[in-house]
Symmetry: C2
């Protein structure tokens, strides 16, 4: 066994032991750890700054672009935000131990379900060190243990943050190993982490599509993931045009990089002539390139500027994460639904409509993690949904779907309460 | 591409198309198909009998043992039972389209969750042809499509049953391909079925541990499964001895073959001297071999007969599915919980106790799909839990856990209802 193997096995065994203790931990102790962590984050300025500065200097030296360097930065504002996140999670109800749906059966037994932690989750992420705190705080509240593998470029920052987490667990009498950060940049550690079913129950990767595809392929445990977010906004035949312009504008342009930004606009033929020139003006003014089907292109011909292009077949499948949008005119709700189910990534899709039956059909038949009526796809987010926090987004149908909060890190087991009943 | 490849791809594509239609199918049509199926099962006597007789004759000719041949038999009683099952499922509420937990957010959007089908499930099973109807009826009600792969020894019976299912789907205007039976006994079909993520969303295997382990290892989609059921009954330090004798007797001896039968008995030292001789008499009278730790063995010394053995370490990990039970004296609730979590199979475990705190600790800390207080482990079953039917049992923590009914074949997607809200 190599040193790395021995190290990872040790981490896994420690995590499993800690998970058993965390599953039985009192709510008060978990909240105490979270509040201690918030306090320590606010007070740890100089120590954290030194560690963070090492990562920042290395990044600048390595020639990373300014936005990448910025994402590494742990300034007072970032720390205040993550500290506040810990306090918010402390204030949320404890999901663990909740017993629901208890029903008396004809045999006399009462049957219900109890929410319990999943056990140990492994989290693989890049760049932003605040993810370390987000993952740790969700693990603590949900009674899980976690093994964190951050980006090598943030290692010193992550180690400093993990030490604060460990101290906060100590403060509350909880096992320090409930949150462990892998302390090596050796890439083989990821391969080991995702193939330890005895020690790790689920893997949550965040990062580029290539990384996530590789992890999904090689993992020997379930993976909570989304690969991309080719999200659609569909303007129906019956629609409030003003509302649709406002919502589609926001869905595309409020921010270009998130996975819940709209990448493709479908417009019913009955509204295309009224709607497309108006949204075209908005996109043109904001510098959004329009890749349009022939009918849409014709209707956009009066839009000023030179941002109109003919869409290729590949555009319908593309997540741009940039000021680009694909635009297609469709002849029916059926065509819109079929297009989304075929070309979308089952992430988030919205209909703009005033017709109730069409709204309900869209909600039911579009096979995506989030389906919306008359709202911006940008709302697909754990905070916006009221989950308090988000460990990731799932585009799978299994277990957790869409934004994953505390509940997604839990499992429901059956509880049977009897008075000596036997089966006949 | 071989013929088998082409055939399986065709089956997969047909299933995916059918799944889209089933997801949008009206409740009334699904119930109509289920009631038509019940009627057809009751009326199909001669045609079914002929197909079944072919399988029975082949089984006898192949020298199968009588119990194995019996499991293949589709007599009037078996058909009446499965027909009744279809009617019961028709009478249950439709899980699909249910919208729960809708809450208004500060932004103005309303956020909730809608229950939708998983899509296509593949079911791999052996022997008993009535599983064909159970799987088909659950698929229809839950709005999924399914691909069924039964045992080769039941092929003619299964084909005849699948034809009845297809006719019943026709009756209701639903796609015949919603339930497809693989019509070849080529074993390579299983390997293809479990590696078609584009066409199959989840695999549900039933059968021997070896088969299920192989499927889990090789599948490229999630698998809902349990490998074995090493279930425990634990007699606590504070207990109603009469109640404990009745329940443990039932948990072990009511039937030996099911996965929810108790295989291991743990007894707190404080009750061992009172409890073990009494349960030993019961086991002895029923011919149940007792494999006991040294302390238990000593306390069982007065039990008549020669069914007492010294347990080996391997006994703690063994699912006997036979009139054999392992017995261990423990010194604390902690020891009992640790033993169960280490040696059990996370299936079903019960505590017999009059102490409330111990009951709650057992429920919370035993990491099993079903945890019980003062009830027979034999109750771990979809019908007993009120699920109406059971497609299988899961000992995983991911997605469905314990008996899997209609809900386990569904997924919750997020629905967002707005009036033109945008994200700021």
């Amino acid at each position: 066994m190599t040193d790395l193997n021995a190290y990872m096995t040790g981490v896994g065994e420690s995590a499993r032991r800690a998970a058993t203790l965390m599953a039985a931990a009192p709510t008060a102790a978990k909240n105490q750890a979270l509040l201690a962590l918030a306090r320590r984050l606010r007070e740890a300025g100089p120590v954290l700054a030194e560690a963070n500065e090492r990562d920042l200097a290395a990044a600048r030296e390595a020639g990373l672009e300014a936005p990448m360097v910025d994402r590494l930065r742990l300034d007072a504002k970032v720390l205040a935000t993550v500290a506040e996140g810990c306090e918010q999670i402390a204030a949320m109800p404890d999901p663990i131990g909740e017993i629901t749906g208890v029903k008396r059966r004809p045999t006399g037994i009462s049957v219900g379900q109890m929410r319990v932690p999943l056990g140990v989750f492994g989290m693989i992420y890049e760049s932003r060190p605040n993810v370390t705190i987000e993952a740790a705080s969700l693990a603590i509240k949900s009674g899980n243990a976690c093994i964190l593998r951050g980006g090598s470029e943030a290692l010193h920052s992550n180690l400093a943050l993990a030490a604060l987490v460990g101290d906060s667990l100590d403060d509350a009498g909880l096992p320090r190993d409930a949150v462990q950060l892998i302390n090596t940049v050796d890439r083989a550690a990821v391969g080991l982490l995702i193939t330890m079913p005895a020690h790790v129950d689920v893997i949550i990767p965040r990062g580029g599509k290539g990384l996530i595809e590789r992890i999904s392929r090689e993992a020997r445990v379930p993976v909570i993931k989304h690969l991309d977010g080719n999200c659609h906004s569909y303007v129906d035949a019956e629609v409030d045009i003003d509302l649709a312009v406002t919502v589609v504008d926001n869905a595309k342009t409020q921010k270009y990089s998130p996975c819940n930004a709209t990448e493709s606009l479908l417009v019913h033929a009955a509204q295309a002539a009224s709607f497309l020139p108006r949204i075209g003006m908005v996109f043109s003014a904001k510098g959004v390139e329009m890749r349009a089907c022939p009918r849409a292109l014709a209707l956009l011909s009066q839009v000023p500027g030179d941002l109109r292009r003919a869409a290729t077949e590949a555009d319908w499948d593309t997540e741009y994460l940039a000021p680009i949008i694909s635009i297609k005119v469709v002849d029916s709700l059926d065509e819109a639904i079929a297009h989304i189910n075929r070309h979308g990534s089952h992430h988030t899709d919205a209909i703009l409509t005033t017709n109730h039956m069409n709204a309900m059909r869209f909600l039911r038949e579009v096979d995506s993690a989030s389906v919306m009526v008359n709202a911006s796809t940008r709302f697909a987010d754990g905070f916006e949904y009221g989950l308090g926090a988000e460990i990731g987004i799932s585009t799978d149908k299994f277990h957790a779907r869409g934004p994953v909060g505390l509940d997604g890190l839990t499992s429901m087991k059956w509880v049977v309460l009897g008075q000596g009943e036997v089966r006949s």
